[in-house]
């Protein structure tokens, strides 16, 4: 069963070539790579400015962000790109018959455990992406394509730390 499933996926090297062409298109058209966490950040900053305007006005960080990202989420390149990701992922899932509400987890853990660790992982990744000036897409993948030293360092530490802690997290996955 699992084999049938995995056969429906693209050959990984072909997928990689296509990913590279999408990334190249982003550079050629917009002069910048792909990203993901920046879109969430744009929404977060706007959310905070809407919920607590006085607080946002008195906080240097949000004022600086607005100066460097004028126009809000609707004028943010990454927000539009991530909306596209939702559409593109949905189309691929629909074509391959993979659309399904589901909590995917190892049989050794419950759905609840999986959700709790997904939340913890998300919190860490959200924080880390801000510290590292971009996530796997914006810092590591796009950074590597332009041969940025920082991009390579971030990439090495994302995957290196993942491998370093894999043993302790093994029950979640194998």
């Amino acid at each position: 069963m699992g084999n049938n499933n995995s056969k429906k996926y693209l050959n990984p090297y072909l997928g990689g070539v296509l990913l590279g062409l999408v990334l190249l298109a982003a550079f050629y058209i917009s002069g910048r790579g792909l990203g993901a966490s920046g879109a969430v950040k744009s929404m977060v900053v706007t959310g905070i400015e809407t919920i607590a305007p006085a607080h946002a006005e008195g906080t240097e960080y949000y004022q600086n962000y607005d100066k460097s990202h004028p126009g809000g989420p609707l004028h943010n390149w990454l927000v539009w790109e991530m909306l596209g990701v939702l559409v593109g992922g949905f189309i691929s899932g629909a074509v391959s018959g993979r659309l399904k509400w589901k909590v995917e987890h190892s049989p050794k853990i419950t759905s609840k455990t999986r959700l709790i660790f997904a939340l913890i992982g998300g919190i860490l990744f959200g924080f880390g992406s801000q510290m590292g000036r971009g996530c796997t897409s914006g810092s590591a993948l796009s950074g590597m394509a332009v041969m940025s030293l920082g991009g390579f360092i971030t990439m090495a530490f994302i995957f290196g730390t993942g491998f370093a802690f894999a043993y302790f997290a093994r029950k979640l996955w194998i």
């Binding site: 296509l18 790109e81 990701v85 992922g89 691929s92 993979r98 041969m147 997290a169």
Partner: protein, 196 residues
């Protein structure tokens, strides 16, 4: 000559529309390659599924080579392409925190949105976590401001840093990637995947 928007060949709004189209391509390729499954993503760290390694490095190499050739043909001005700045300590600390988030959460931000688009609820939970993590960072910014700006090295490329040309570095990276692909194929044979 590219980049089109920087050279004002297309307008800012066209750029946003193209961002949406590029995003569709990005999301489609991620999903079609299996990145909508946390099990596939985490598999790289245990060797039973090295799809991430193959897709990620092939993508980086293709885009890198594409940029070099576009530059050679005069199609793109690499001086106008954004190069991620290098702040040594925040790159290390941020990367390490992200790595821990990756092994516990099974997603990164882009793949979480991709997985949510086909209905993965664990991905939605991860996205909720991303929002919390970003709020913690922005609200607590004065606490880690010094770390965030420490050791600013500007925007060095790997070639500049190691004193070799772009082309030589690209060749070395391609050779390294082929070596990793070989290890990945070997690992997948050695650590068979438990299906569920």
């Amino acid at each position: 000559m590219g980049p089109l928007v920087v050279n004002e060949i297309i307008s800012a709004n066209t750029n946003l529309f193209l961002a949406f189209l590029i995003g569709i391509g990005f999301g489609f390729v991620l999903e079609a390659s299996g990145f909508s499954s946390s099990r596939t993503l985490a598999g790289m760290f245990y060797g039973y599924d090295t799809t991430v390694l193959k897709v990620f490095f092939t993508g980086a190499i293709v885009a890198m080579l594409g940029l070099l050739f576009f530059s050679l043909f005069g199609w793109i001005d690499l001086d106008l392409v954004y190069i991620n700045p290098t702040f040594l300590w925040s790159a290390i600390v941020g990367g390490a925190i992200m790595g821990l988030g990756f092994i516990l959460g099974g997603f990164c931000p882009g793949t979480a949105f991709c997985a949510f688009s086909i209905g993965k609820l664990d991905a939605l939970m991860f996205i909720g976590g991303l929002i919390i993590g970003i709020v913690i960072f922005t609200e607590g910014f004065p606490l880690w401001k010094d770390l965030f700006y420490a050791e600013n090295m500007g925007t060095p490329t790997m070639g500049e840093f190691f004193g070799i040309s772009r082309g030589v570095f690209a060749l070395l990276l391609i050779l390294a990637a082929f070596g990793m692909f070989w290890v990945g194929e070997w690992a997948e044979k050695k650590y068979p995947r438990d299906e569920y």
